[in-house]
Symmetry: C3
Subunit: 209 residues, 3 copies
């Protein structure tokens, strides 16, 4: 097992935990919680692979289903104690996000898509799972409202492409891009940074022709 | 027309009726109800076919669109009398579910995916349409909260794979697996069986780094 | 740049504006608004392309991402003045819808799908983006409740197929079909036409076996 696989499993675990815990606030049963956790963990990569026209990654090895099952067991057994581990999970989530973004970009470039598609795919890999989670539990997607999340994926993606086009080695490019995502997340949460929000009115769109 | 086609249409009809009736509680117009009914009936198989990388089944013959249109006409004409038929629809739904699971598994094995992908695809075929229906009408997906549904698909899937690997004939395997799904549904509803639910708190995920 | 490209960009712009403005009523940040706008603009065509088994159109040229970014800047800068332009946006939206329907039908026929698949794809191209927008901002999809929208796509699609099968020239077929969609929209909004709605009861589906 390579180092990158370990990070992949840690990221999957953190994403699954986040889905299962948010689902548990909605009186969802164990199996429902598993599905929400799984969707959070593999949803982004699945959408990416469908858009790229390749077989979804989790259909090639069962480890993602297993890691999510372990996450479910952990939440069932230790739910009360997990609150104290929130900072740990946040770090896991940020590290997983950094890796997911890099994997999404690499896969897109391998399929010979242009750089701006790769940046979009990095963002989709990192954030579509969380959006699907929030749709399933009937919330306005969190990443549209709270601190910098999808934007962190895009910033990491831009750094990746800049490194690559200035001749930085592939491995260093991946490390720098993933670190950018992680740092952007940590800084935005630590200092409560967020993007400005739009103000509007639900009745704005009335038409009178 | 083969026996299995008849069951397929009965299942499609029952799924469409369920979508149209749940939509009708939300003041949706006829066409909206048709779309919700259609999504309920063909949504699961469509997701399965996209994941498997094949052309969605309903794009190859118009019968699914027609069966859903018949379901809409029935709800419009007989809505008040349908309540008395709830048990009949429940049986139709369970029989359709059993068939959908078996079809999903067969299709995945034909594409040479491993058994655990086939079980997932059986579950997706059976339950993703209902999840999409609930998202469209803005409910927390019912199958996450009420009796055993997606779990019945998985149990049927496991029985299918066990039969197959112990040399049971293909036809008998299909019958046993579909019956397992149907029986699991009937028993879980009759005896109000459900999986334990997770208890959580919406504020659990606060981070303080 | 051809005339049809200009209409395509106008339609994309109008769809993006509609997504961004509806998102802004939900206290979404700029980046979230961009994603909702983008989903509204390209969501329908993306679902169509996935169902047809081809690479999503917006992954082949960056113009759709750019047009959506321009729409976001317009809403940020001029949001208060946009209300006065509602009728203009309504016309843009209707014209875009007409074009999207025609593009969806053409693409499906090029892939040699039968006419009824093409009509469905026209409808999906025109309306799935709006459905996804409403799911993201947690509303019952507007097109299920208010005036004639998805139905306008279907009527345009039927007109397209009728023209084609009676030997009308390709260009005239496209113009007549798109105009049908546009006119149906304008008339239904101007005269407050809508389809009848279904009345139902949430408890209807109780089962007692």
């Amino acid at each position: 097992m390579y180092f990158v696989d370990i990070i992949d499993y840690i990221g999957t675990f953190a994403f699954a935990i986040s889905g299962i815990r948010l689902a548990s606030a909605k009186k969802v049963d164990w199996f429902g919680a598993y599905i929400v956790g799984l969707t959070t963990a593999i949803g982004g990569g699945t959408i990416r692979d469908l858009l790229l026209g390749i077989t979804p990654f989790w259909m090639q090895q069962p480890s993602y289903l297993i890691v999510t099952a372990i996450a479910l067991v952990c939440v069932i057994l230790f739910s009360k104690h997990l609150v104290r581990l929130n900072n740990t999970f946040f770090i896991f989530d940020a590290v997983g996000l950094g890796l997911f973004v890099v994997v999404g970009i690499e896969k897109s470039l391998q399929q010979e898509f242009p750089f701006w598609v790769a940046i979009m795919m990095g963002m989709i890999t990192g954030s579509a799972g969380g959006i699907m989670r929030d749709i399933l539990i009937r919330e306005i997607p969190l990443i549209f409202r709270k601190d910098i999340y999808a934007m962190a994926c895009v910033i990491g993606g831009i750094v990746f492409i800049l490194c690559r086009q200035t001749g930085v080695s592939p491995v260093l490019t991946q490390i720098v891009a993933a670190s950018t995502v992680i740092l952007t997340r940590v800084i935005s949460v630590k200092y409560h940074l967020s993007l400005p929000s739009l103000k509007g009115n639900e009745d704005d769109e009335s038409v009178n022709i």
